[in-house]
Every structure is written in C-alpha cells, then in structure tokens.
Amino acid sequence: MPSASGPIITVQGVSKAFGGIQAVDDCTFDVAPRLITGLIGPNGAGKTTIFNLITGFLRPDRGSVRFKGEELVGLPPHEVERRGVARTFQHLRLWNKMTVLDNVLLGCQSPVGENALTLFLRPAAVRAQEARDRARALEVLEFFGLRHQAHELAEDLAYPEQKLLSMARIFATDAEVLLLDEPTSGFDADSLRRVIPIVRRLVEHGKTVLLIEHNMELISQLSDEVVFLHQGHVLARGAPATITRDPALTEIYFGI
C-alpha cells in the first residue's frame, strides 16, 4: 500500500552500458517510503548495477535518480550516504580485521572524533562523542542480535551473522533508505527466521528498504512491493503475489 506522501526514491530513465553490453536500459521505478520493496530478476538483470547507480558508485549514461526530490546522480558515494541512502554489498566488504563493534562504530558519523583538528583541540567533546557512539553502537548490535559478539573480529563471525553485521553497520548510519544487496543469500532456515522480523522492524523504525533477493518465498513474505527487472529494464511492478505468480515472469526468471 503506497504511502500518500509520494515516493522517496525515483529512478527515472536510467541507462548504463559497459563495453558493448547494455547493463541497465531505460530503467524507471519508484520506491515508496517506509515500505519494503523487493528488486528481483534473473541473474545479470542489472540489480546490483542499479544499486551502484543509485548510490554513486557508478554514473549513469542517462537518466536521473532522486531522493526526496533531490538529484543523486553526480554525487560521490559518501555524499549519497550522507544524504540518507546507504547500501550493503553482495560480497559483504566488512572490515575483517576490526571488531564487530568497530564495524558498527564506523557507521556513526562522529564529526568531532573523525576530524583531525577537533581531535586535538576538543578532547572532552571527543570523549563524550565516543561514549555516546559506543552506547548507540551497542544498541544497534542488540537490535541485530549481535551484542554478545561485539568484541570479536568480524572475520570470526559465522556467515549469516556477518550479513547481519553488514546490515547493522548501515543501520547505525541513520540513513533513511537502506539498500540491501542479497541480505539472506546463503542463509539456512534458522537464520532466515531470525532475519525476517529484523528487516520488518527496520520499517517500523521509519526506514525504507529496497532489497535485492533471489528467494521467492522471502520476497512474498517480506516485500510490500516488488519490482521485476530483466535485462536492465523494469518489466513489471506490483504486489508480490501478483508478480511471483505471473507465469510469463516466472518463465523469464527461471529461464525456462
């Protein structure tokens, strides 16, 4: 049920080619606020590329991406995140040699502690900020069920927990829109049961979630809306039930 206040992210006519390949082709879709939107499609459909294009890791050849009306195209990735759109990576990209807590702490913007000047000139403020950030990071870890592993190295976590950590990281950034790239790939049934309520609670906290997912069950359970991507182009969008049961789309998806 789209909210009345209009889409929070608008992707409009976005195209991107690599060498001879058109990875994304005149792609247009909206993401409604405070909902979970699923981005699905067969392999190579361009889903991760769309994430890269939205978050500034790639620049579209054509088209625009707006966040709350503001143009994101042309901004470098750190600026996109600062505006409020954060993403995870399919291959995690955790800081493996750092602790779980440090990984999340890096999500907190610490304007005083991360600035070399204030670091030396305002030690009291830096200390206070660090204490606040730690407390917050621990809360975030609690939310994701990782509190007890706060001081372990990221690389020592089990795979599903590493995926949760990558989500926890971006949750700590306070970004309004969270782009999750295959957040549950490789999860067993237990882990899935653990993660689904967490993703739902993200929305309850006012976040908007756009997730790339291959697991159809999960899409049906989690998403409020689904966007079907094929060969870089949006083929269909709508309620999960409609999309996942459409025989033509299923054919394309499974390449039958």
């Binding site: 991760t48 890269n52 500034g56 890791f57 790639l58 620049r59 990735p77 990576f89 291959h91 990209r93």
Partner: protein, 294 residues
C-alpha cells in the same frame, strides 16, 4: 624562428626516447598492473650491456646493440619470473610487489655504481656523432636514429599486438585477467612475454642515451619516473597514448628551455603533470575513470 625549430627538433628526439621508455612501461603496467619501477633498472642495464658488448667484448656496435636489447628483454622477463611472480605465489599484493621493485631498482643501480663507478662510460659510435642538417636544424645521425627507432618500434609493437596470437593474448589479459583465464590463457606466460616486450622496446632508449652521453648507473630512475608521467598523461592502457605522452614530455622540456633556464626543466614537466591530472586525469586517450567495479 630557427631557434624554435631547433628546439622542436631536439624536443622530438628527446620525446622519442621518452616515448620508447613510456610505451614499454605502459605496456607492462596496463597488462600486469605492476608499478614496475625496476623498469629503470632495465633501462640502465641495457646501456651497460651495450657498452660492455662493444668495449669489453670488442663486438661491432650494431651487434653489441642488438645483443644488449635481447639481454635487456631477458632481464625484464627474469625480474617478473624470479621476483614478482615468486612474491605473488606467496600471496603478495600490489604494494609488496611495488616495494620489491623499488628495492631491485636501488640494488641494481647501486651495484652498477659500485662496479663501474658513477662516472659515465662512453661508447664509440663513430659516424653517428656526425652532424646532419635538415633545413635550419642541426642534429646528429644518432638523433635521427632515435626518432626512426621510436617510430619503427611503435609500429612493430602495434602490429604485433593487433595481428599476432600472442599479442591478442596480451590485450585480452590487459582488458580482463579473469576473462582471459577462463578462455584458457596462461597469465604467467603472458606476463613474461609482456615484460620481455616492454623491456625490449625501452632498451633502445637507454642504449641511445648511453651512446650519446655515456652510460650512467642512476639515470634509469629519472627515466622511469618520466615514463610513468608520460603514460598517465597519455592515458593508461593506451599505447598510442604512451607514445604521445612521451613525445609531449620531450617537447615540453625542450620548448620550456626557450623561456626558462634548463635547470628548471623537470619542474616544468612536473608542474604540467599536476595540472593535467586535475584537468584531465584520464590523460589524452585514456578511458573515463570511474569508481572501481564492485
């Protein structure tokens, strides 16, 4: 006007030397992504090989030069085989390879300095020292040979890369090592070939400079720096770009002398380089630079 033409001509000559160096370095860098500063060592070694061939072994000049080029090609190949590939086998990353390359450059140049002293070692180049006059411009035959070699070397390399199987393998690897591997290309062998080729094409540069002003142990360091500047200005991954970049540097240095004292030549080139990477980081012919693929 005559002065300008003269400076242009010398600029082209110097540019040809830089171009040979840059093309060799750029080929290696573009294909292997190694920041091969030891290319400077090969440059220096080529000069000493040629000198030794003529002055120690008594070989005729042309034979000494050809053998020196072959020896330099082998040297470059061995650097990859015995140093870089060995490190990579042990899980080394690019930084490690770079540091080892830097270490090797220092070792080679200083061993040469210890054995041969830092003083320039001159060669007999006979008739090549004679002047030739092209209109108002005075050059030596050696200078003419330099330009001719640069053009010939460039054309030969381009033909090789475009037409031969081995050349296509090199291009495949430089485009995407993963893809090349999946189609069955042996990356190790391609790297060795690249090093041999890159060193072979840069060797004449070192040899010609030695024939002109004598072989010196530390010159390679300056030349590899200029080669990398030339490659960046020309655009990484572009052989024509490296050629243009090298020639551009040579012209810049020499035309700069017109107005600015010659001691400041390197400062000018470097200043231009800095402006360049602000204005057009991808260089003349490089592809548009964007964030790494994730």
């Amino acid at each position: 006007m005559d002065l300008l033409l003269q400076l242009l001509a010398t600029g082209l000559v110097v540019g040809s030397i830089y171009a040979l160096c840059a093309v060799g370095w750029g080929l290696i860098y573009g294909t292997t992504l190694h920041f091969h500063v030891a290319h400077g060592a090969v440059f220096s070694l080529a000069a000493y090989y040629a000198w030794a061939g003529q002055q120690l072994l008594g070989l005729p000049l042309i034979v000494a030069v050809v053998l020196a080029i072959l020896a330099a090609a082998l040297s470059g190949l061995l650097i990859d085989l015995l140093l870089y590939q060995q490190l990579e086998r042990r899980g080394a990353i690019r930084t490690t390879v770079f540091i080892s390359s830097l270490g090797l450059l220092i070792v080679v140049e200083n061993v040469l300095a210890m054995v041969f002293t830092p003083d320039p070692l001159r060669m007999d180049i006979g008739v090549l020292h004679d002047a030739v006059q092209l209109g108002p411009v005075f050059l030596t035959w050696l200078h003419v040979v330099a330009v001719a070699l640069a053009v010939a070397g460039y054309l030969a390399l381009m033909a090789f890369l475009k037409r031969s199987r081995a050349g296509q393998a090199i291009r495949a690897v430089s485009s995407s090592p993963e893809m090349a591997r999946t189609v069955g290309i042996d990356l190790g062998r391609v790297h060795l070939l690249t090093y041999a080729l890159g060193s072979a094409i840069a060797a004449p540069a070192g040899i010609i400079v030695a024939m002109d002003v004598g072989a010196e142990p530390y010159r390679g360091t300056t030349f590899v720096l200029l080669a990398s500047v030339g490659v960046i200005m020309g655009g990484i991954g572009s052989i024509p770009g490296a050629m243009v970049g090298g020639v551009f540097l040579g012209l810049l240095e020499n035309l700069g002398v017109w107005q600015i004292p010659s001691e400041w030549q390197s400062a000018i080139s470097f200043g231009v380089f800095l402006v360049f990477i602000v204005v057009r980081p991808r260089g003349f012919f490089g592809r548009r630079i964007q964030s790494a693929e994730i």
